[in-house]
């Protein structure tokens, strides 16, 4: 069977084999998202050593600060560890994986398929949200087992929710880094620098070791606001106006970073 068709480019008539007329299949966005998520979770699992490194530092701090729990309070210690973990997930885990896959052309390969762009990113962010949940759960378990920090059920639930809200700030910040910087090695170096700066200035600044001015700056920095809402979430009875302001600032940071990150982001590094 053959079909006669006219090629418009040179106006000639050619005989070609019969053209197949297959159905055009566009899976539903939810089906595509589920497929991508399954694949991204597999990739995350195969890279589990990197994931372990991300949660290792908060757990080390949790163990080594055992003697400070009585002095600083259980909520302070837990919120510090969770905030450090959230910073690592957003800055080191998320931005580095996006930069690497962009450089390898993995996103471009997906974008030439009938995949909505939002599904590609939503799948990546979902993986990081799962990482945040794992981190928070591990901190709660280690806190109870090693430091004997026990919270109320409301504290665990509210603290969990604040971890996710706080994690969004760092995912947004990671998006800004990967939006501004194309080279994956530079992304890696920059995210490490910001991570260390956040930990050193945030932790010591909040403890008042860097002076009053730095302490005030830290209070309204992404580190300070996230730490405060997580801490108040763990002990809901301590939630006050200051915490509500911190929550509002946290949401503001999230919106700002996400907007800038999306605005600057390019799917290809070439």
């Amino acid at each position: 069977m053959s079909t006669t068709t006219t090629s418009i480019a040179d106006n000639r008539t050619t005989t070609w084999p019969a053209a197949a007329t297959p159905s055009i299949n566009i899976p539903s966005p939810s089906s595509v998202f589920a497929t991508l998520l399954r694949s991204d979770l597999r990739t995350q699992w195969r890279n589990r050593r990197a994931s372990v490194m991300v949660v290792l530092l908060p757990l080390i701090i949790l163990v080594s600060w055992k003697g400070l729990v009585d002095k600083l309070g259980g909520a302070f210690v837990l919120s510090n560890c969770i905030t450090i973990g959230l910073t690592a997930i957003g800055l080191m885990g998320y931005s580095n994986s996006i930069a690497r896959d962009r450089d390898k052309g993995i996103f471009q390969r997906l974008r030439v398929a009938p995949v909505p762009s939002w599904a590609v990113m939503a799948s990546r962010i979902t993986v990081q949200l799962i990482m945040i949940m794992i981190l928070t759960t591990l901190v709660f378990i280690f806190g109870a087992q090693i430091d004997h920090i026990y919270l109320t059920a409301t504290g665990y639930i509210f603290g969990f929710a604040m971890s996710i809200v706080g994690g969004a700030v760092y995912l947004g910040l990671g998006q800004v880094v990967v939006g501004r910087i194309m080279n994956p090695e530079t992304v890696n170096a920059t995210s490490r620098l910001i991570y260390i700066a956040f930990i050193m200035i945030g932790m010591f600044g909040e403890l008042g070791m860097l002076g009053k001015e730095i302490g005030e700056m830290v209070k309204y920095s992404p580190y300070g606001t996230v730490k405060r809402i997580v801490s108040a979430g763990l002990t809901p009875g301590t939630w006050n106006t200051d915490t509500s302001i911190s929550l509002a600032i946290t949401l503001g940071y999230t919106i700002l970073f996400t907007w800038l990150g999306i605005k600057w982001f390019r799917w290809s590094s070439r």
Partner: protein
């Protein structure tokens, strides 16, 4: 997902049905690809200028040009990776601008870089892309597809552990896993040894025989002459000529610049290419 019909040996038949929204709007004779008046600008620089061509079902169409001639920009515009400044692109009748998801569902793409997660195994990558294209493949069907390309024993091997030729074969099978009307191959044989290259040519010809329209870019004149039914030579963003390889040679053999480019007395496609695009080395 519904089951996609797959033959006993695991190959994908030409008429498959799967899930999701579907349309059967293509009339026989609709070009696999139609490009009209395509212009692409990068700032003030015009990379593609008024390019027009078509690829018919069951045709291998080659695009030749020196580095920076506009091949990749043209291909990227067809793939939807960049927005052209003006012009029309239709894949199996679907406008890439107005119905991008339908247009993308009708095309299979092999990019220059084999761009899959290196941590995933070969079978996992096949399942990922079959899911994305709405083709439901069981493990047995995946193994059948891999048998077709002699990679069955590599099903559980991570993609990053495969050789370049093996990665190319996987990439090609993924480009056609949803049985697309149009297959875009960006320099598919670059870096392959002669055996792998010949094997790939056979696979491309087999795809043509099944009715796929194929657009490939290449720097290899041998490849263009051996495989392509028609070729376009593009330079400085403009198409200089479109025809069968032999017709292009015949129509240009008497041009002084082509004769000057000839090295062995006999005019080849490469001589015509050099004659039309010049001898200067491009960046």
């Amino acid at each position: 997902m519904d089951n996609t019909t797959i033959t006993a040996n695991g190959t994908l038949p030409i008429n498959t049905t799967a899930t999701g929204s579907s349309a059967n709007g293509q009339a026989t004779g609709t070009p696999a690809l139609l490009v009209e008046g395509l212009n692409v600008f990068y700032g003030a620089f015009q990379a593609v200028s008024n390019v027009a061509f078509d690829v018919q079902p069951g045709e291998i169409f080659g695009m030749l040009g020196p580095n920076g001639a506009g091949k990749t920009s043209t291909l990227s515009a067809i793939e939807g990776l960049l927005n052209p400044s003006s012009g029309t692109i239709r894949v199996a009748g679907f406008s890439t601008r107005e119905e991008p998801r339908f247009a993308r569902a009708c095309m299979g793409v092999q990019l220059q870089a084999t761009s899959f997660q290196p941590e995933l195994t070969v079978s996992e990558i096949l399942q990922l892309f079959s899911g994305i294209y709405g083709v439901d493949l069981s493990r047995e069907q995946v193994m059948g597809v891999l048998s077709e390309i002699n990679l069955r024993e590599f099903a559980d091997r991570r993609f990053g552990q495969l050789s370049g030729g093996q990665q190319q074969r996987i990439s090609l099978v993924i480009a056609t896993i949803h049985n697309p009307r149009l297959v875009l191959l960006d320099e598919p044989t670059t870096g392959l040894d002669p055996q792998s290259r010949r094997q790939l040519w056979h696979r491309i010809e087999a795809m043509r025989d099944k009715g796929h329209g194929i657009l490939l870019t290449t720097h290899s004149m041998e490849e263009a002459e051996s495989v392509c039914d028609r070729i376009a030579i593009i330079d400085h963003g403009k198409i200089l000529t479109i025809d069968t390889p032999q017709a292009i040679i015949d129509n240009n053999r008497d041009r002084p610049e082509v004769i000057a480019a000839s090295r062995k007395g006999k005019i080849t496609l490469e001589d015509v290419f050099i004659g039309l695009t010049g001898t200067a080395i491009r960046s």
